[in-house]
Amino acid sequence: MTIAADTPRRKRPFWTIERRDAAAGYAFIAPQLIGIVTFVLFPLGLVFYYSLHEWNVLANTFNYVGAANYQMLLADKALPQVLLSSAVFSAGLVVLNMSLALLLAVLLDQKLKGITLFRTLFFSPVVVSLVAWTIVWSFLLQNNGGINGLLQLIGVEGPNWLRTPTTAMISVIVVQVFKNVGLNMILFLAALQGVPRELYEAARVDGAGRFKQFRRITLPLISPTILLTSIITIVGSLQVFAQIAVLTQGGPGMTTTVLVYYLYQQAFQFHFFGYGSTLSILLFVIVALLTFVQWQMRKRIVFYEN
């Protein structure tokens, strides 16, 4: 950066290092930036614009209606059930996923022979095609399917899993947890292996038991990972669609109709694009709020070494 200062008398070349760097920088990020503007930010603006219109594709109507779609949102009798389903699904998924991932990571962090084989097997559903995985579970969860068959062998009459409200929701959650828990498990395992061993030895000398060591040393040290994975898991849980479409089609009744599924129905099955856009805005606000709240929590509960 000293070239210009060394040659004060000569005419300063136009392409200084700073300018060349700036040009390179913009060239490097241009595809990403143009892409984000075209395929994310512009559509987000459009979705807001659409949400102010009454738009029925079949009837070919597109009229400005102001906040009418938002009033419809508040008056929509189905919406409380949809939000409740989404909340139950997301909460159930996050709690189950995170605790199972942590349990598996702790198990895989033990000194045991053949532990890599277990790691591979626990992780394997992550790489199985999502719809293939969901179809197998759908097959297993049929009234006369494999799970009820196995239950009957030990004399238990299983419910019709996908056609009973509570068990349908549980099924959808559990199928998704087993599919993806391997990802969080690996991230937790990497975090656990990053905890300095000396800390445990010091704690043991001070007479702290296993459980206390876990609570006082392990958990605080891996809390940044817990926070990040929980954000990713929650945002991911709000996007769930294929599992619902394949397993329950939102039923029975509307008990497993989560927000994205409802949005899809309104926009692409009933062709209410205006109201569908309003639901999209609602989804966006929920994702943004949850991310913001969790990011704020980072200051309070996450422990950093430095």
């Binding site: 390179a24 987000l44 702790v106 790691r119 095609s129």
Partner: protein, 280 residues
């Protein structure tokens, strides 16, 4: 907590892990075995963990009922393009955000990160309208363009940026003194060092594209154009009932190749994912 465990403890841990493994492994086993059962045995009681009769014709039926080879190709080439495109775009952007000083770089990075908060489910209605206007409905363009440029590639850019920030800068500075341009430094020096991060990006992106379901059913309408996830749900009889054994044969063919690649390369796979900069 790696301490030496007592033999009793070891047995208990192995037992616990074996029980926990059942829901992870059994579905794949059940898919494989049920895909070669004749339809009359598919709901047999007691359940057959090993088929009592084999019927391999299910696999041929998959190709008779759907243009399955074509659909397989559709999914494969879309996933390959999306993975390659994302690796190029996100490694370049990630490198620039980590290494190059240019005006407003932080502000622009924040704008790009906004993409993470806007999954394509939020923008699916306007995306549909845009691609309709561009004449791209029932083509594969939406399935290629949206992931390469949308939220998944932002995540990839974030991963690449974290990696390049942690990479020692000395090598690149030596090259700069020798007069190498930015692009050459990136291509010849930084990128070859970034293989672990690129690997993680490739895995995430491939799986994302391979699993897409909402986008295909919104954008595609003819069976020739379908991708695998969409095709898998189409194996129904005249009454809309699932033809389970044929559907499971198609599911097996969809799942097994990726599973095999994973088993062969699982070490790189798992370690790549662990190095995504998500450790905090």
């Amino acid at each position: 907590m790696k301490t030496d465990l007592s033999p009793r403890m070891k047995v208990a841990l192995y037992g616990l892990m074996c029980v926990l493994l059942i829901p992870f492994v059994f579905p794949t086993w059940w898919m494989l075995t049920s895909s070669v059962k004749p339809i009359s045995d598919i709901f047999a009681f007691p359940p057959d963990l090993w088929p009592r009769r084999f019927d391999f014709s299910t696999y041929a039926r998959v190709f008779e009922l759907q243009p399955f080879a074509r659909q397989y190709w559709n999914s494969a080439y879309i996933a390959a393009l999306v993975t390659g495109g994302t690796m190029i775009i996100s490694s370049m952007a990630g490198y620039a955000f980590a290494r190059i000083k240019f005006p407003f770089s932080n502000a622009i990075f924040m704008v790009v990160l906004l993409g993470l908060l806007i999954p394509s489910e939020v923008t699916i209605v306007p995306l549909f309208q845009m691609f309709l206007k561009w004449g791209m409905i029932n083509t594969h363009w939406p399935l290629i363009l949206v992931p390469i440029f949308g939220a998944p590639s932002v995540f990839a850019t974030f991963v690449m940026r974290q990696f390049f920030i942690a990479l020692p800068v000395e090598l690149e500075e030596a090259a700069r003194v020798d007069g190498l341009g930015r692009f050459k430094i990136f291509w010849l020096i930084a990128l070859p060092l970034a293989k672990p991060a690129l690997g993680a990006v490739a895995i995430f992106t491939f799986l994302h594209s391979w699993n897409l379901y909402l986008e295909p059913i919104v954008f595609l309408s003819s069976t020739q154009m379908f991708t695998l996830p969409q095709a898998l749900t189409q194996f129904t009889d005249a009454y809309g009932g699932a033809m389970w054994n044929i559907q499971l044969a198609a599911a097996t063919m969809t799942a097994i190749p990726v599973l095999l690649v994973f088993i062969v390369a699982q070490k790189q796979f798992v370690e790549g994912l662990a190095h995504t900069g998500l450790k905090g």
